[in-house]
């Protein structure tokens, strides 16, 4: 099984905290879908692929910054080129400021069956403060439109730790969102990334972020509230109604293969000798040029040896509340984690972070709060 990711690098406007690959829509946007389709077609015989495909995910950027027809054409190309599993999860991210009912209808009809809406906060002042282009009302309208258009699997992206945000304010957002009854909520702590406008503002003292403890409080209070409302935490920052976990993201956290198409997209798959990770060029002109010449836009390939692959399985798998199935680890590597990392395993045990489970390697709530420290034991 191999997941497919498609990167659409365009946004109406970049948010001040964002360090993903995204640019304003420009002339290249009209050439981009063609190039993407070309890449998908070219890749079929040149990249490692173990079918079928259980999930396709359009991310960005803002995929809906392109017209629905373009997204549909790309999806059709994927369908034609790769074998999608019947009932595969097909998601697109969507900025509430960029899609209307008619668009949702088209996307739904073309086979998209999951929508990920970026709200971040229900407080319009906070949205404006980080440069989001939409209001909470626009989000509500978009959400209802998506439902009306037939999307029965919707995720809402939220953030805490935004400048000026309080716990009360965050819980209000959660309440508003829960009242809409989405199937899935991603609740991320803001990461202040170097090189973003927000980073500059904070460094210059123009904007102040809630302190470490306030953010931790928000997070804990938010988790308690989501639990109350029937959302089960299944990963560090992800919550779902039972059975609605995001299949695509689980591919990442299970360290299963996926192919990424589009500028700056990353892929991961089993190569002949070692596990491979590779990434496409981050430059749109280079991307377009390479594909015009019929070349794949790969920029960099990493060979992941066995030990590194084991570490990656641990680093990603322990993000899941359920953790890593012992049998899966044994099957993949021919040894147990205790055998592969005897010392680190004990260090985590001494900290009291392992969940006592005969079937899984999983961390306690406290262990997940200190995931980095736990992972450092394995390096």
């Amino acid at each position: 099984m191999t997941g497919i990711y498609v990167h659409i690098p365009y946004c109406v406007k970049k948010c001040s905290y964002c360090d993903f690959c995204s640019v304003p829509r420009d002339d290249s946007a009209s050439l981009y879908p063609d190039a993407l389709c070309r890449e998908i077609e070219l890749s079929r015989d040149r990249l490692p692929y173990e079918g079928p495909v259980p999930s396709v995910f359009f991310g960005g950027g803002t995929p809906t910054a392109l017209p629905p027809a373009a997204l549909i054409r790309i999806l059709d190309t994927i369908r034609r080129t790769y074998d999608l599993l019947p009932g595969a999860e097909i998601t697109t991210e969507c900025n509430p400021g960029t899609a209307a009912y008619a668009d949702f209808v088209k996307l739904r009809a073309a086979g998209f069956n999951r929508l990920s809406l970026g709200l971040q906060s229900a407080d319009d002042r906070l949205l404006a403060a980080v440069g989001r282009i939409h209001t909470c009302d626009q989000f509500l309208t978009a959400f209802r439109a998506a439902r009306d258009a037939g999307f029965q699997n919707i995720n809402v992206d939220l953030m805490h730790g935004l400048p000026g945000q309080t716990q009360e304010n965050y819980l209000e957002t959660l309440q508003k969102v829960c009242d809409l009854e989405p199937e899935h909520i991603s609740a991320y702590a803001l990461i202040l990334e170097e090189g973003t406008p927000l980073f500059e503002q904070v460094t210059a003292g123009e904007v102040s972020l809630p302190d470490e403890d306030a953010v931790a409080d928000m997070e804990d209070a938010g988790m308690a509230y989501l639990k109350e409302r029937g959302f089960v935490r299944y990963e560090v920052s992800n919550f779902a109604k039972p059975g609605r976990e995001c299949r695509h993201n689980l591919i990442y956290w299970d360290d299963e293969p996926y192919l990424g198409f589009g500028v700056a997209a990353h892929s991961s798959a089993r190569g002949k000798g070692a596990w491979l990770r590779w990434s496409n060029t981050e430059s749109i002109p280079t991307y377009l040029k390479k594909l015009q010449k019929g070349k794949l836009p790969t920029a960099e390939t990493l060979y992941i040896d066995k030990k590194e692959e084991m570490f990656e399985v641990i680093m990603l798998g322990l993000r899941k509340v359920k953790g890593i199935p012992r049998q899966a680890f044994l099957d993949r590597f021919g040894m147990t984690m205790e055998q592969a990392f005897p010392e680190p395993f004990l260090q985590v045990q001494y900290s009291g972070w392992w969940v006592d489970s005969p079937t899984h390697y999983a961390l306690t709530k406290e262990g997940m709060d200190h995931l980095n420290a736990a992972l450092c034991c394995f390096r």
Partner: protein
């Protein structure tokens, strides 16, 4: 050369008053160095010297000057270190001269440090020739400065050359005055050899070299010489001069200055101030003034990464070859592992050494709280000398303690007298005297405990006087003082590297300030960390480093796996660079930042 045509002199000047520039011009005018080969400020050969505008090691340059009367003179310019920490080196260098050129900045006037060195020169019977420099600057006030020289030092300055070393204006006149006014040497060329070592240097090829001034007799290769203070004997392999490049000569005769290379293994064996004599025809008595210099300030120096201990040892050994006043011995600290207890002549010396270790040997260092040398009088009547807070005996066995006091002299424009006196007062200073040298310059004398000025006194003085005040100090005596050892505990474990000896009245504010600082510099860990200051067993201040609540990457998707792995790598690296104090990980630079605090 005939002694009547030799002139040995040095230049005395405050930092930035133009000593090195004047020396450069002299070398140019005497064709010692071609203009195109001039590298600005040739004498200051170390990078640090050039950057800080100070001279650390003395050197000597030989020049030939043809005077107006057509006769040729040999000039030996002996360069002297310009800082208080090197007073002994300065005094030895002065001993080698008959005259001193006093350079005074026409825009600044005389500074405290210059004054100290001028008095030193006068005490050594040197003919002092004042030169007023920087007259090309618009803010120059040569008249005022001339009067200042006459009033403050009591030297006639009416005829002093007014020059611009930078442009070369009137520098010729300085050379002429040197011939005219600096006395020629008057030693006995045929007597038993007596040569004063005024500096030492280690050269990778030639080994340990001594810079000498020959007073009587001569030194030539093949001679067997003896160090009169240490008793060591050596065979002279080479004698030479600096022009300013190395240049071997056949001999150094009475009145001349140059270097002596012999079978000397380390600069330890020939010390500054010592007299070299001929083993065959030894002098009966050495030249006066030899003194063993004792370090005044001590601190522990540790590699930031414990595995670089060997590199640090090697670096210290190399520096010591060049700098006999540096002392070091092995030391261990519970917090910092293996390192060295190092002794320095003073604060600047300490800074220069640590900077050279980091820069020239590419080491990352942790230095512990500097300490002075305390005298501990025990109940048993015994006196214990300590330079490390960790070795302070049990307080119940101590009768009383004494600490070194210095006589500090500060020169400042009158506007800053208030803030400066406040600073001295805050540092337990005892006011001694104040003089209006002239209407816009005041000299203030204070007696200060040395342990108060080894932290940030100099920086505070500069900031309180907007950089105008200058400062000089000399060791005065030891005084009984109410001292305590202030310890710091992290999660209940004492951190020996942070212990410091302070006056009882200063313990509380200092304890509080350091705890606050530690709270900021120690990263949050998986548990709460009490940070405490204690005297004996008594806790006097406390802060808490709260436990880390969340140490997890919020988002980790397909695209950023390699990047997130790098983040973890960085976190892990950071951890490796930390020192373990009991259960607590402390970043190496935390030790340094705490040292900058003088509560």
């Amino acid at each position: 050369m005939d002694q009547s045509h030799i002139r040995n002199f040095c230049i005395i000047a405050h930092i930035d008053h133009g000593k090195s520039t004047l020396a450069d011009r002299m070398m140019e005018l005497t064709d010692t160095v071609a203009k195109r080969d001039m590298e600005a400020q040739l004498l200051d050969s170390m990078d640090i010297e050039r950057e800080r505008g100070i001279t650390i090691k003395a050197s000597a340059v030989r020049m030939f000057y043809t005077a107006e009367n057509g006769e040729q003179y040999m000039f030996n310019l002996i360069d002297t270190p310009g800082h208080v920490d090197f007073t002994y080196e300065v005094s030895r260098a002065l001993k080698a001269c008959e005259g001193a050129v006093l350079v005074v900045d026409a825009t600044q006037g005389i500074e405290a440090q210059t004054l100290a060195n001028v008095y030193l020169a006068i005490d050594n019977d040197l003919e002092v020739l004042p030169v007023i420099n920087k007259i090309d600057l618009p803010s120059a006030e040569p008249e005022r400065v001339m009067h200042e020289i006459e009033d403050v030092i009591g030297l006639p300055a009416e005829d002093s050359p007014r020059v611009s070393a930078k442009t070369g204006m009137n520098v010729e006149e300085v050379l002429a005055q040197i011939v005219e006014r600096v006395p020629a040497p008057t030693g006995d060329p045929d007597g038993p050899t007596k040569a004063l070592i005024f500096d030492c240097l280690y050269d990778n090829y030639k080994g340990a070299l001594s810079y000498v001034r020959v007073f009587d007799g001569a030194i030539r290769p093949g001679m067997r010489i003896r160090s009169m203070a240490t008793g060591h004997e050596f065979d002279v392999t080479e004698v030479g001069v600096f022009t300013p490049q190395w240049k071997t000569v056949e001999e150094l005769t009475a009145g001349e200055v140059g270097y002596v290379a012999a079978s000397i293994k380390s600069v330890e064996e020939t010390k500054v101030g010592d007299t070299l004599t001929d083993v065959e025809h030894p002098a009966t008595a050495p030249l006066p003034g030899y003194m063993k210099v004792n370090p005044m300030v001590f601190c522990g120096i540790y590699p930031a990464d414990g595995s670089h201990y060997g590199d640090l040892q090697e670096a210290l050994e190399k520096l010591k070859l060049n700098d006999a006043s540096l002392s070091f011995e092995k030391e261990t600290s519970a917090a910092l592992g293996y390192g060295f207890r190092c002794g320095f002549l003073g604060l600047l010396h300490m800074e220069i050494i640590t900077e050279r270790l980091e820069r020239e040997f590419d080491l990352d260092l942790v230095t512990t709280s500097p300490s002075v040398v305390y005298r501990v009088k025990m109940m048993s009547g015994e006196t214990v000398i300590i330079d490390n807070p960790a070795s302070l005996p049990d307080p119940s066995e101590i009768d009383y303690m004494e600490e070194p006091m210095v006589k500090a002299s500060i020169m400042t424009p009158p506007d800053y007298v208030g803030p400066i006196m406040e600073l001295c007062q805050n540092n337990r200073g005892i006011f001694e005297h104040m003089d209006y040298i002239e209407k816009d310059r005041v000299k203030i004398l204070y007696t200060l405990p040395l342990n108060e000025i080894i932290y940030d006194f100099f920086d505070s003085l500069k900031s309180r006087s907007k950089g105008y005040a200058s400062f000089d100090y000399e060791l005065k005596d030891y005084q009984k003082s109410d001292l305590v050892r202030l310890d710091f505990l992290l999660n209940g474990d004492m951190c020996d590297a942070l212990s410091t000896i302070v006056h009882k009245d200063r313990a509380y504010p200092k304890g509080r300030a350091v705890c606050e600082k530690l709270k900021d510099v120690i990263p949050r860990q998986q548990f709460e960390i009490p940070v405490q200051a204690a005297i004996g067993g008594k806790i006097i201040a406390r802060e808490t480093v709260k436990a880390v609540r969340k140490d997890v990457l919020a988002k980790c998707y397909g695209g950023d796996i390699s990047r997130k792995k790098k983040l973890l790598e960085k976190q892990k690296e950071g951890k490796k660079r930390m020192r373990q104090v009991g259960t607590v990980s402390v970043p190496s630079d935390a030790f340094m930042s705490v040292l900058r605090i003088n509560g």
